[in-house]
C-alpha cells in the first residue's frame, strides 16, 4: 500500500513539473509583433481627448492680467540652442478688439495679447500642451512636440465661431512679429 502511495506521489510531482513548464511557455513575453490584443492602445473619443488636453494645457480659472503694448522698436531674443523659442501672436481682426486673449502652457497661464501683439517664451524640448482663451469662449487647444533650437509661431485666432491656436509657418510668423508690438503684461493678484 505504501509503495502505491509513493508511486502516486511521484506521479503527481511529475505532472506538477510538466504543468509548470507549460505555464512558463504560455506566459513568456510574446515577440514584438504588431498584432496587439484587443483593447491595447485603445483609442479615446474626441470628447475624452479634449477633456484630457484641457486638463493638461489650460491654467486655473480666475487668473487675470494687466496688459499694454510696448511702443517703439523691440529687440528680439536669440534662439537658445538647448530650448525651443515660441512666439505667440494675435493678428488684427474684427472680433474682440478690446478682449485680451490669454495663453496657457502645460496648465499655467503664461501671457496675454491684445490686438496686433506678440510675446515669446522659451520652452524645454518635448511635448507641450497649449490652451488659448478669450472671455467666455471655449478654449482653443493645441499639442506640439517642441525641438531644441527651433522657433515656433503660434497665432491666437479669435473668430465669431470661437478661439483657436494655429501653428504658423516661419515666414508668415516672422512677418507678423516684425509688424506687431510686443505685449507687456503682469498677473493681477486679488487683494
Amino acid at each position: 500500500m505504501i509503495v502505491v502511495q509513493r508511486m502516486y506521489i511521484v506521479l503527481l510531482m511529475g505532472l506538477t513539473v510538466t504543468h509548470f513548464v507549460r505555464a512558463q511557455e504560455t506566459t513568456a513575453t510574446p515577440p514584438r509583433s504588431s498584432t496587439a490584443p484587443e483593447g491595447e492602445g485603445k483609442q479615446r473619443s474626441e470628447n475624452e481627448t479634449r477633456k484630457r488636453l484641457e486638463q493638461l494645457a489650460c491654467g486655473p480659472s480666475g487668473v487675470r492680467f494687466s496688459h499694454h503694448s510696448e511702443k517703439g522698436p523691440q529687440a528680439l531674443p536669440e534662439q537658445p540652442p538647448d530650448k525651443g523659442l515660441i512666439y505667440v501672436l494675435r493678428t488684427k481682426g474684427l472680433e474682440g478688439a478690446t478682449v485680451q486673449v490669454k495663453l496657457a502652457m502645460d496648465g499655467k497661464w503664461v501671457g496675454v495679447n491684445g490686438m496686433a501683439n506678440y510675446f515669446y517664451v522659451e520652452v524645454d524640448p518635448g511635448p507641450h500642451y497649449f490652451c488659448v482663451k478669450a472671455a467666455l469662449d471655449k478654449p482653443g487647444l493645441l499639442s506640439l512636440v517642441i525641438e531644441k533650437g527651433k522657433t515656433y509661431y503660434l497665432r491666437q485666432n479669435l473668430t465669431m465661431g470661437g478661439t483657436d491656436l494655429d501653428l504658423l509657418d516661419e515666414e508668415k510668423g516672422k512677418q507678423y512679429v516684425a509688424k506687431y508690438s510686443r505685449s507687456s503684461f503682469a498677473e493681477k493678484h486679488k487683494k
Binding site: 514584438r32 509583433s33 504588431s34 492602445g41 499639442s143 506640439l144 512636440v145 473668430t159 465661431g161 491656436l165
Partner: protein, 245 residues
C-alpha cells in the same frame, strides 16, 4: 579485405557517425546558416573550399565556421545602406481630435527589408510613430492638422537604426485639402470630402484623418553592417505578397 567490403564498412561508419552530423546540422540551423546534410559532409571534408566561395552565401558560411587563424570579423558583412526604403502602414485609423502630441502610433512593416540576402527588418514587425502636432477641426470650418515622425526602426536583431520620415496631414475644411511633407515621403492617404463652402462661421472644420492601413515610406539614415549570425536568410523566411495599393 576486398575493395567492396572496405567501402561498405565506410558506409556503415558514416551511418554510425550520423548523430554527430545531425548535431552539427542542428547547430548550423540554430545559427541560421543554410546548410544541408550534403553540405555538412562537404564542409567536413573541404572547409577551405567553402571559404574561397564568392557572394553572400559564402559570407554567411564563413561567419559560422571557427577556422583557426581567421576571425569571423575579417569576413565582409552585409550592410543595410543609407536611403534604404522601409514601407510602413498605420495599424489603426488616426484622427487629429483623438490624439495628443507625444503619443505613439502603432505602425507595421509592410514588406521585409533585405540587406543582401538577409532579412534586416521582417515583414509585419511593429514600429511606432510619434505625434508631433495635433489639432482638432477649428472654427469657421477650418480643418484640423496633425504631424508625426518616426525616428528609429528596430532591426531583426533588436538594434535600433535611425530613419527619416515626417508627415503632415491636414483635415478638410473650408479650404482645399492640403497634404504636405518632406520630399521623398510617399503618401496614399484618403481624406474626408471637403465640406461644402458657404457660411461656415459656426461649423468646425474636419479633423485630419489617417485611415487604418494607410502606407508611407521611411528611409534608413546611415550605413549599418549586419552580423549574419543574427539575421535570417530571406530564402528561409516565408514572404507574403503585399496587398494592392
Amino acid at each position: 579485405m576486398s575493395l567492396t567490403s572496405r567501402s561498405s564498412r565506410i558506409v556503415e561508419g558514416l551511418f554510425h557517425g550520423a548523430p554527430a552530423s545531425v548535431l552539427l546540422l542542428a547547430f548550423s540551423l540554430g545559427l541560421n546558416a543554410r546548410v544541408s546534410t550534403s553540405q555538412v559532409g562537404f564542409a567536413l571534408q573541404n572547409s577551405l573550399e567553402l571559404e574561397r566561395g564568392q557572394g553572400l552565401d559564402s559570407v554567411v558560411g564563413q561567419s559560422q565556421q571557427s577556422e583557426p587563424g581567421k576571425s569571423p570579423s575579417n569576413a565582409p558583412k552585409p550592410v543595410l545602406t543609407d536611403g534604404t526604403l522601409v514601407r510602413l502602414k498605420f495599424v489603426r485609423a488616426v484622427v487629429s481630435s483623438q490624439v495628443i502630441a507625444g503619443e505613439k502610433l502603432p505602425l507595421e512593416v509592410v514588406e521585409p527589408v533585405l540587406a543582401g540576402k538577409l532579412v534586416a527588418i521582417p515583414q509585419h514587425s511593429a514600429e511606432e510613430a510619434i505625434v508631433t502636432m495635433a489639432q482638432a477641426g477649428r472654427s469657421m470650418g477650418r480643418g484640423g492638422d496633425m504631424q508625426f515622425k518616426i525616428e528609429n526602426i528596430r532591426l531583426a536583431d533588436g538594434e535600433l537604426v535611425p530613419v527619416r520620415a515626417v508627415k503632415d496631414v491636414k483635415g478638410g475644411g473650408n479650404r482645399a485639402v492640403a497634404l504636405t511633407g518632406e520630399a521623398g515621403i510617399a503618401a496614399g492617404f484618403a481624406f474626408w470630402p471637403v465640406s461644402p463652402l458657404g457660411f461656415l462661421i459656426y461649423v468646425r472644420g474636419k479633423n485630419a484623418t489617417i485611415p487604418a492601413g494607410a502606407e508611407f515610406t521611411a528611409y534608413i539614415v546611415g550605413d549599418f553592417p549586419l552580423d549574419p549570425s543574427k539575421f535570417q536568410d530571406a530564402a528561409v523566411v516565408p514572404q507574403e505578397k503585399s496587398g494592392p495599393k
